[in-house]
């Protein structure tokens, strides 16, 4: 046998193969997994360099595209199984984000393998269809710091003591009993970031002493933040069914306190809109009987329901009966959407939040684009009453108001802000597109407003 000498050998010394494995790893983990595995045929030194990387990410591009889902699924399973079999050394991060892969028996073996190899970050986002049931070997992954699961069934055993190292938990469309979720959260003492989405009718009490970031999305029955003193950022997109909302109206609880009563370190609060997608037909609009509850929006031939029983409505229940005990000294950003300016309780929530946040810098509110039913007799006394303190918003710099219809309560709110913000720099107003006549009326009123800030600019964004 004669060794073939390639031209390449005489071109110069090898630039890369002798670099330390830490650098090789740094390069290989930035490549798609297929390119990383391919390096095994570059040269004899490169044969197994890929096999000791500590991060394995399998996405939709790791096998050839085909319209036959089962063919793709089989390829993915084969590829992942072989890669794991050839791998040597610890695996710190394992991620599958593949929409073709559904529940497959091999997945159990993979998780078992990972549990024996010091897995720290596990992300499983597999396809729609049959929900995959997470095997019990997951609960043996003692070193887990990050867990992200989508579309699966999770059933922690009773003896499960929690993930002691877990810092980030993200459950998306996961079938798990509410008790199990609560107990899972409370048994992960280092938990800093929690994200729960697409849950049905969840009633949750969160007890997480180290929690800093909270994201909740979906249908909720009740949320109570029992022990979350370090919470810094809250982002909620929730909705409630009618019967739950009505039940709340009857109760004497103050939701605001239950939810925001124990978060003195809050820096950012965001209340988003929750959309439900329904593909019906294109180019259609419809009107509905309950303008306060649901709004339809057409976007690119899909129909979307916006649910109005939103976070803000939830917070408004019981608000007028209590006095807020806490100040949010670190709260700098508030973003609340689909505010129903006809409901004075919702306005009260915003005002209470604003006046309890002495360092508030940025406020972003979007209205509800409803034409008020009671347009002829708004309760403007609300603004006169002494329940509104005279405290100035001393740090408020930026205000953005969108979906403004120019209705009386909205205008009063704008006046309120302008009068009390001595360092305001910009107040932008984006009207809802629909009524030019209304916009003109709004502008006329705005021009009259008194301003506390000499530098403040009121910007009316006209499409």
């Amino acid at each position: 046998m004669r060794r073939v000498i390639r031209m390449v050998d005489v071109m110069g010394p090898d630039l890369i193969s002798d670099l330390p494995q830490s650098i090789i790893e740094s390069i290989l983990v930035k490549l798609p997994i297929t390119d990383a595995v391919r390096t095994s045929i570059l040269s004899s030194k490169w044969r197994y360099k890929w096999a000791s990387i500590t991060q394995l990410v399998f996405d939709d591009k790791c096998v050839p595209f085909s319209n036959d889902r089962e063919v793709v699924e089989r390829s993915v399973v084969k590829f992942i199984t072989r890669a794991l079999f050839l791998h040597q050394g610890p695996i710190h991060k394992f991620q599958i984000s593949n929409s073709m892969l559904q529940s497959y028996p091999e997945i159990d073996q993979w998780i078992l393998f990972l549990s024996r190899n010091d897995i720290k970050e596990l992300v499983m986002e597999i396809g729609e269809g049959e929900f995959f049931r997470i095997p019990s070997s997951l609960f043996n992954c003692r070193k887990l710091t990050r867990l992200e699961l989508s579309r699966c069934e999770l059933d922690p055993p009773h003896s499960f003591k929690g993930f002691v190292c877990l810092r980030s938990l993200n459950l998306h469309q996961v079938l798990i009993s509410p008790d199990a979720v609560e107990s899972l959260i409370s048994r992960c003492p280092l938990l800093e970031s929690l994200s729960l989405s697409y849950f049905d009718n969840l009633a949750l009490t969160i007890s997480a002493p180290n929690l800093k970031y909270l994201y909740l999305e979906g249908e909720f029955k009740d949320i109570c933040l029992e022990d979350t003193p370090l919470l810094v950022e809250i982002s909620i997109a929730m909705y409630m069914t009618d019967d739950i909302a009505e039940h709340f109206e009857q109760s004497s609880n103050c939701n605001f306190l239950k939810f925001l009563g124990g978060v003195p370190n809050l820096e950012k609060l965001v209340g988003l809109i929750y959309f439900t997608k329904v593909t019906l037909c294109s180019h259609v609009f419809i009107v509905l009987d309950h303008p306060q509850k649901v709004v339809y929006e057409i976007m690119y031939d899909q129909l979307y329901f916006i649910h109005f029983c939103t976070f803000l409505k939830y917070l408004s229940i019981g608000i007028d009966s209590v006095h807020l005990p806490i100040m949010y000294n670190n709260l700098e950003t508030i973003e609340l959407h689909q505010v129903n300016f006809e409901d004075t309780k919702e306005i009260l929530v915003i005002l209470r939040m604003i006046t309890s946040s002495p360092n508030l810098k940025e406020l972003h509110i979007s209205g509800s684009s409803n034409i008020p039913i009671a347009a002829d007799a708004p309760d403007l006394d609300f603004w006169e009453k002494g329940c509104l303190s005279d405290s100035a918003l001393n740090k408020l710099k930026t205000v953005k108001l969108s979906e403004m219809g120019g209705w009386p309560h909205e205008l009063e709110f704008i006046k309120y802000l302008l009068c009390r913000s001595p360092v305001l720099e910009t107040l932008s107003i984006i009207p809802c597109v629909f009524d030019m006549g209304n916009n003109l009326k709004m502008l006329i009123e705005l021009v009259k407003c008194r301003r506390a800030s000499s530098r403040g600019e009121v910007i009316f964004i006209h499409e």
């Binding site: 490549l31 997109a237 979307y304």
Partner: protein, 262 residues
């Protein structure tokens, strides 16, 4: 703790034995140098110059110091830093490899990440032959047997690699392309409206209530001909007409509509 005065300059010795003076503030951006100064008190004079690791040549040191000089300034925006980084890594592969190695030995992790990303970009999507040529890798997995080139004894890794090669040919366009260039066949005006939507703070749920849908569909069918007439007969004014408070009373009572893209 540093004893004595904080001097503005320190002395560094590179692999070739040459010694140079560097502003302390800038050099301290490298963790290794920082440790040498603080823990061992080195670098304050020519005699006790900090010996840099073997992999740091004068040329690469100069590049590293440029990087440090830019990034140690606190006021810069992320955009500025990113822009600088992108220009910074434009160099030939040999220098890029040397730079990565040197940055690693100085424990300057952000620079290692930057350069490895650049190297990964070079490797991504290329055939083995191209990669071997760029990095001067020997093709020592193939041997000639009786006049024919054969692959070294099969290993599982080769099998995976083989399958991966044919796979990647069929795969979607690479990340090398700018997102903006990908043409997914949508009309640009509509696309712009969609993009406007994407920037809004909406969260998309995925379940819907059948009851609501059916009610909705029923109502839709009953009003449909009337509604369609209005939609078709108006053009731009569609938006204002339907929302005018003086308009159709049915609408006024129940109106909640958005027309953002029709």
């Amino acid at each position: 703790m540093v004893s004595g005065m904080m001097k503005p300059y320190i002395w560094l010795e590179t692999s070739d034995g040459s010694i140079q003076q560097v502003e302390q503030e800038i050099a301290m951006y490298c963790p290794l140098i920082c440790k040498e100064i603080i823990q061992k008190g080195m670098g304050s004079s020519k005699n006790c110059a900090i010996c840099l690791p073997q992999r740091v040549s004068p040329a690469t040191l100069s590049l590293i110091l440029d990087y440090c000089r830019f990034h140690q300034v606190p006021g810069r925006s992320n955009k500025e830093r990113k822009s600088y980084d992108e220009k910074f890594v434009r160099m030939d592969t040999k220098r890029l490899c040397e730079l990565t190695s040197a940055a690693d030995s100085l424990q300057l992790k952000p620079l290692v990440d930057l350069t490895s990303r650049a190297l990964a970009r070079i490797i991504e999507g290329k055939s083995p032959e191209e990669i071997r040529e760029i990095f001067h890798l020997p093709d020592d997995l193939t041997e000639e047997v009786n006049g024919q080139n054969i692959r070294h004894p099969d290993s599982e890794a080769d099998i995976i690699a083989e399958t991966s090669i044919s796979h990647t040919e069929n795969v979607f366009p690479h990340k090398e392309f700018d997102d903006g260039d990908i043409d997914d066949g949508i009309d640009p005006a509509l696309k712009e409206k969609i993009d406007r939507y994407k920037s809004k703070p909406y969260v998309f749920g995925n379940h819907f209530e059948h009851r609501e849908v059916e009610d909705f569909a029923r109502r839709l069918n009953s009003d449909w001909p009337e509604r369609m007439q209005e939609l078709l007969s108006s053009g731009q004014e569609r938006k204002t007409r339907l929302f005018s408070p003086n308009g159709n009373s049915f609408l006024r009572r129940n109106a909640c509509m958005f027309f953002h893209c029709l």
